[in-house]
Symmetry: C2
Subunit: 382 residues, 2 copies
């Protein structure tokens, strides 16, 4: 029987579970139509408005699935066959957006940037000048490469051309203040196990009032019944049965979300910058370099570092795993060349990075990583 | 703050959580690509073959969603636009199947039976004679009315006409031996919170080798990326990343499924018959009658009873709720007229029914329900 020892999870999701969320997982079972569950749901909806920075006319809820269902639900609700959609893609998740839109029969145009580089606003503008798009979609933080895209600027630009805007907020919402309404974002989603450090299995989403109107004005039904906006509203707003929801995951997400808002989004944004900055500084002392060249394009919640030549990717990560420290390598063309260190939610804690550096010192037989990390952290938090 | 007292859950799902599953929910977090999670997944896949009675060429897995996603995934994978599908509908879930198929652009024919009655084989045969269908779908146990449809006979009939067959096994698989391959079923699904008494949020599904071939032979891509068979196989069989899975729910489902198979499916089928029979006998002593007239059409796992005239539905159920006993009323035309008592998984225990009858005796100010239940149970288990 598996022992399930505690691991030091430094992957770009899932993250170590937030303690209140862990406790909430064990709360007594309730039916999905129970008044106590509806009370939890109402609190989650209100807190998600704060998390995403929406006005009172937006609709927020949890989808009963992981972040990829959040991605797919947006396209399934907002696009009809032949609708024109502009997708910004510079990594796995941008290309996944294009794949999903194509499967739904949409007319897809892709604005690309090379792996490791951010989407260029000028390229988006050129595309918007050339054609009219019902929807523009962009991944805020590309988990696969650690690149921060200018999602807010893309949203504002797309809005000025009359498009709806979807933003993948998987690695950003929850670790920085979000202002969906102000920024002109119409649909945003994340996964519970990312910046909120809740167990995986629910996707917090938000639809703006414009997005809601767009769904209401469809000429065809939403092809995906399971995440159809009307069905979601029936359950979350009118307390009618649509489908069973994962009640334990609602308890846990509710607890984690409450804890995040109590800490405060600006405080969390500061925490991730400080811990991430100190981690990069410590790694630079032994030859690692930031994978994303321009600091303003670096995603604060996923630190992507290029390995020095003397370090072999797989053997070192395997050795770290023997110390119960789990980190992630690259994908596709970055495989073997980079590591990706999570800084979402409970990952962005000095204690977690101390464990990582202690293990790395042993595995590489080097010294001074913890000291360098602490020194930098002392500087930045002084 | 909600206290989350333990409730006596006698709804037709969710069910009281199986104790091993409850404990497993608290196991330490792992990433979805962790070797220990893949070991859990492999055990789940093997045990699902046993649960559903499939051959070695079938594909089994958990979908990251509830039972309705299981329903939708079947149609999304097996149907292409304009494909002809025959749906058997005599309750909410049969009509939901038709709704989902229509949204996917399929050409839908519905064989109906009145609420409270089973689908007639002759009606299915007439439809199969009149047209050629790629897929025939039937709900085995209609949770909404407590009707057991002749799903096995429908499957065998449909097979003889060359159709693929989907069976909704939500209220049956896990409480009776299943023989998917032998019966000619190509796709089956259930929800974790039903007969297995695991927390809600994953849907155990099985695709036959014919279903897999049908998906491979599609001319269009599966519109639903999230539950696309090829993506599921990538993760579950080849251990490649597709999307994050709800790891804690995998732990819990694994524990509940293991416990169910250790008890044995024939034993569970006997248990549900005995507890359900005794519960009906006890209720009959105070004027309740079985809602489904013909005993052979009664779903063993959802006891639907017609209320005697002297009992008012909502006030009595509200009073039971004050005793922490939760039961469910009717839907649509049966609202106010029937109660539906769950007998799935951990619901089908004498101790649970003792609590229900103790509360009901107090609320109605009657005596003898527990005695009548125990006497009947003594007879049937002697």
């Amino acid at each position: 029987m598996t022992q399930y020892l505690e691991q030091v999870l430094l992957t770009p999701g899932p993250t170590p579970i937030e303690p209140h969320a862990q406790k909430a997982l064990g709360f007594a079972m309730r039916g999905h139509m129970d008044p106590e569950v509806f009370a939890v749901n109402a609190r989650v909806q209100a807190n998600l408005r704060t998390l995403y920075g929406t006005d009172a006319n937006a609709f927020t809820c949890l989808l009963a699935g992981t972040g990829s269902l959040g991605m797919e639900a947006g396209f399934a609700n907002l696009l009809e066959p032949q609708d024109k959609v502009l997708i910004c893609a510079n990594g796995s998740f941008g290309y996944r957006m294009a794949e999903m839109s194509e499967r739904l029969g949409a007319n897809v145009t892709v604005v690309k940037a090379p792996i490791g580089q951010a989407i260029q606003l000028e390229d988006v503008k050129t595309a918007l000048e050339a054609d009219a798009f019902k929807l523009v979609a962009v991944v805020h933080g590309e988990t696969s490469t650690g690149v921060l895209n200018p999602a807010i600027e893309v949203a504002q630009l797309a809005k000025s051309y009359g498009s709806l805007v979807t933003v993948d907020a998987v690695t950003t919402a929850g670790m920085m203040p979000y202002h969906m309404t102000e920024w002109g974002i119409d649909y945003a989603y994340t996964g519970s196990q990312k910046c909120l450090s809740a167990p995986p299995g629910v996707a917090p989403v938000a639809f703006s009032s414009s997005a809601i109107k767009a769904v209401e004005n469809r000429t065809s039904k939403v092809p995906l019944w399971y995440a159809d906006l009307e069905g979601l509203q029936a359950y979350w707003d009118r307390r009618e049965y649509h489908h069973t929801v994962p009640v334990q995951l609602h308890y846990a997400l509710d607890a984690a979300l409450t804890a995040a808002l109590e800490e405060g989004l600006p405080t969390r944004a500061k925490r991730v910058q400080e811990v991430g900055g100190a981690a990069l500084a410590a790694l630079e002392t032994i030859g690692f370099t930031a994978f994303v060249e321009r600091p303003e394009h670096r995603l604060p919640t996923v630190l992507a570092v290029r390995l020095p030549e003397y370090i072999q990717d797989v053997p070192v990560r395997s050795s770290l795993r023997e110390h119960n420290v789990i980190i992630t390598g690259g994908l596709g063309e970055t495989a073997g060349k980079i590591w990706r260190l999570g800084l979402m939610g409970e990952s962005a804690r000095p204690a977690i990075y101390h464990k990582f550096f202690a293990a790395l010192e042993k595995v590489l037989n080097v010294k001074g990583l913890i000291t360098a990390f602490d020194q930098q952290l002392g500087v930045s938090t002084r």
